[in-house]
Symmetry: C2
Subunit: 576 residues, 2 copies
């Protein structure tokens, strides 16, 4: 993995270079953030000619390491205006890595209105005209490309949302089942891809050689240690495989941290109808898949295939965040409707978290009533078709709040909040407030320690200890996001020492290094500093590291509590 | 003028206090900015409970000083997110001053959906319910209030745009002819008023005593000196009274600085059809008023009353900025259509500059064609009625650019640019970039020196000297904006020493002071520092003191020039 391909969408020329200099030793988020930091002017227009879209597998991607199939996509974000790394599973990352590709960097701008695709294979990267694919949803697009190329190709693509450069446009990646159901959702990476006139990247790794391993014995031993930990920890061995990520619904609702009706309550009366347990029963009864691995090399298998009453595939995977955002947050308790919303978002190419947040804000504005599932579905169609109302919705929760004069808008750095109430889970509030990415649960998943008591326990309702918890998690996460490993390894990693030893052992075995845990922490810190520096150059200050004022002023039921972590603590997060 | 009234829109209580402490000696912009700086948390939501709307006459308002009828309205801006002072002529300021009122401060938030009015008289300030006025345009509203109170009352009001809390909502003030045709347009002050549930302020100064003058002889002498200068300078004695502000159209077009079709050219082929000269002929022929004084105490009389072919009143005053924004900037050369657009904006309560900038961006996006006057009118109706498309338009040029994925968007700090191309008039570019107000020509009118050679000459096409020019003008303007004097006094003030001596003499005569020119400059600097500090606390940095990237990259015809003032110069503006 030492090849970097640059594609200039203006000249349509492709060039290849070796990984050198500052880019050496980096992968995944570390590499995307370094490239964006070095090559993209921080103040540039995010859908203008100076932004770049950077696509990278992780450091362990392409090897036999379990759960190593994550792909990182980076750029200046049209949603936040800051740096963004959005990562995604599926099949593409492994194929890129097997082709020896460390990064594809998309630059420049095409002639207005022109669309192109990239064909990636052992022969390199080729540009092809794609005007015939204009306006296609990800599902039809994927089928068309699979029939033209091969069923087994990996596809990275955008739907109409990305073509319209909407700030919540996602980038889809094909799952192991061939559907475009894995999404780099957050931060509008699809809009950047759309601004480059790039509709799809087709990756065929036929004939690729195995990724070279410097020290196979060390790698194998470490890999086994790592797998053992994943298979031992109850979250990765039982909770996630059985119920999927939606195992969390009942837990977070019980904790009073399940944001309901646009963050006006922490408990939803309809949770039983949309919980992981209920979903498991529905899928089982209908003959869908309650579990499967959507990402190459996955052994956790948190994914599922949700089917309709006749057993026909609707979507995969129906996940906790999506169900919450388009469910409880909109007062909707109809799992079939939510599954259709997920499918529509995947097809049009929308981030399901941002979409649910946005619909919640629109409902607060009175555009639709809370609980109106058909109304919510209609809003997604409006967005996907780019009607005037859809242009509002498609640009996210912050934008929709401004359009309709709503004050209670749950965003940080203009990115909509995920499924954890920062008043009831104060640690995640610190992450939302301070992450370089905007409100992002995956940037430092304090919920694990606040609620699930993984990696110790910090009382979720008190401000004490939350800063240090979030800071440590943010640092570690930045490093994990560089490996290509699924973030769910954090559960065993926080509780079982051998898990993290396994990760370091795999890195050392693969690259012939002698990394220690300190080196990994140093990598995480380095990445955060790079990202923070970019954001500062883009105009961010500690003013942007705050939750919206209503979190400090409105008491959240059922705990009747506000966000209590003081600003001085928030300002300490990057003091490391 | 030492009375401050506070109105809490939550409790509906009014309290009165004396001007004391930091507020002593301030008026107009100086007082609004000081109150906002002291009392409004810089990071608060601009349409939330913590923002305040501050309404103040200037220091000389209410006296017999010529052209002293400006009203300052301040708040945190929903458009820029920074501090805002938007000022306006008409009749209200003088009436407030004669009632001894230095400021009305509107605080808190009412019960959702409730509307109120304020009745201001020598008996103080009283709140009245105004749900019956909901949704009214400014014209119907004004007539209704005039028939209920008195034809001679001054009225400050919002139209539907303000009620909908749109970021380009203006605050209307009645002109001397009783129409709601003077607007505090910039920065969405109407949205703040709307968020407070305040529909109108009715001011009856019956029985008010004359404003006390400490040294009547000095005041009289200075006042005469001031008037003499206004009557001597060709701009204030000939250009403005004869052709109105639109005298500029031909001049700026000739200079290649007349932004055309969303800032894609500096010269409009249809300028002859919409110039001040043409307008003068049309109004004369139809029996309208080519000149009159719209503001109390005005002796320049730049205003006009534009009438239709049958001589029926359409709007007043049809001004240069409005004609440019909704004309050349949209490729429209139909003065009757532009007059109707002005009337609609005044009625719905929109800033005509922001509206024209926004329509230009919408046309760039293909929502309407450039030159489509009926299409432009339809967009204003959409905005005024709050349709989904209208919710986009009503929130301004920056917002509309984001909605439709347009990169060429002429805004600074999210405020749309006025009628001077910063590539062809580089001095005004420095003002746009660095003003605390966002892109605002009135904040430091470098066009005077760049194009009209008033106050010397600085070559408009070269970067040299523009920083110092803009800096000096911004400082002086901040002081002038505190006096309540019309900014057009700047023309004689820059060329005739007695003009500025007259201003200082009037202040000294009125308040029994011994101010020198240095004191006036110090006041201007103090105000700018207060505003800059607020903006920094709100999260602004020098990154926000820049023009959009296309001004540095796209060459503007006919001079084929980019914006050349280096960033280091922009960063010097506040180094005083």
């Amino acid at each position: 993995m030492d090849r970097i391909f640059r594609v200039n969408m203006g000249s349509l020329k492709v060039s290849e270079e070796k990984v050198t200099g500052d880019y050496l030793g980096l992968g995944g988020r570390g590499l995307t953030s370094m490239v964006v930091s070095k090559e993209v002017p921080a103040t540039c227009h995010p859908i203008g000619q100076h932004n770049k879209l950077v696509i990278t597998p992780g450091l362990l991607t392409g090897t036999t390491a379990a759960n190593s199939g994550r792909l990182s996509i980076g750029a200046k974000s049209p949603l936040t205006g800051g740096i963004k790394e959005s990562n995604v599973g599926g099949t593409a990352a492994t194929k890129l890595a097997r082709l020896g590709i460390a990064a594809i960097i998309i630059e420049g701008m095409p002639e207005k209105g022109k669309l192109f695709g990239l064909a990636v294979s052992k022969d390199g990267v080729k540009v092809f005209p794609a005007d015939d694919l204009k306006g296609l949803g990800n599902y039809e697009l994927t089928e068309k490309l699979q029939s033209k190329y091969d069923k087994k190709v990996g596809i990275i693509s955008i739907g109409p949302a990305g073509e319209m450069k909407m700030a919540m446009a996602s980038i889809a990646v094909t799952s192991t089942n061939g559907t475009p159901s894995r999404h780099a959702g957050r931060g509008g990476m699809g809009a950047v891809m759309g601004s480059k006139g790039l509709k799809a990247i087709v990756i065929d790794d036929t004939g690729a050689e195995k990724v070279a391993i410097k020290n196979p014995d060390l790698f194998k031993e470490a890999s086994q240690k790592f797998v053992k930990a994943l298979r031992e920890h109850p979250v990765t061995s039982q909770g996630l495989p059985t119920y999927g990520t939606n195992v969390l619904a009942a837990i977070i609702n019980e904790a009073g941290g399940y944001p309901t009706r646009n963050f006006s309550s922490g408990r939803f009366e309809g949770t039983d109808k949309i919980s992981g347990e209920t979903m498991h029963d529905i899928i089982s009864k209908r003959g869908g898949k309650t579990t499967h691995s959507g990402c190459t090399t996955c052994i956790i298998q948190c994914s599922n295939e949700y089917v309709d009453e006749k057993g026909k595939y609707i979507t995969s995977a129906l996940e906790y965040e999506t169900i919450w955002a388009n469910g409880a947050n909109c007062g909707i308790d109809d799992l079939d409707a939510i599954a259709r919303m997920d499918r529509l978002c995947d097809d049009y190419g929308f981030d399901t978290i941002e979409m649910g947040c946005t619909i919640g804000v629109a409902m607060e504005a009175g555009v639709k009533e809370f609980g109106d599932a058909e109304g919510a579905i209609q809003l997604i169609h409006e967005a996907g078709k780019g009607t005037p109302l859809g242009r509002i919705i498609g640009n996210g929760a912050g934008f929709t709040g401004k359009a309709f004069g709503v004050v209670r808008v749950p965003v940080v750095k203009n990115q909509g909040m995920p499924a954890y109430e920062p008043r009831a889970i104060q640690g995640i509030g610190v992450t939302y407030a301070t992450s370089t990415m905007g409100a992002d649960h995956t940037a430092g998943y304090a919920t694990a320690t606040n609620i699930m008591k993984v990696g110790g326990y910090v009382d979720p309702l008190k401000p004490d200890g939350q800063m240090a918890l979030s800071q440590n998690l943010q640092i570690t996460t930045a490093a994990v996001d560089s490996t290509g490993l699924c973030l769910f390894i954090a559960f065993p990693a926080l509780d079982i020492p051998e898990c993290f030893e396994g990760v370091i052992g795999m890195l050392n075995g693969c690259y012939g290094l002698n990394l220690t845990p300190d080196d990994v922490a140093a990598l995480g810190k380095k990445i955060l500093k790079i990202e923070r520096d970019f954001n500062e150059r883009a105009g961010f200050s500690n003013v942007d590291d705050r939750l919206p004022e209503f979190f400090k002023e409105e008491k959240l039921p059922p705990h009747n509590i506000t966000f209590l972590v003081p600003d001085v603590d928030l300002d300490k997060v990057y003091k490391f």
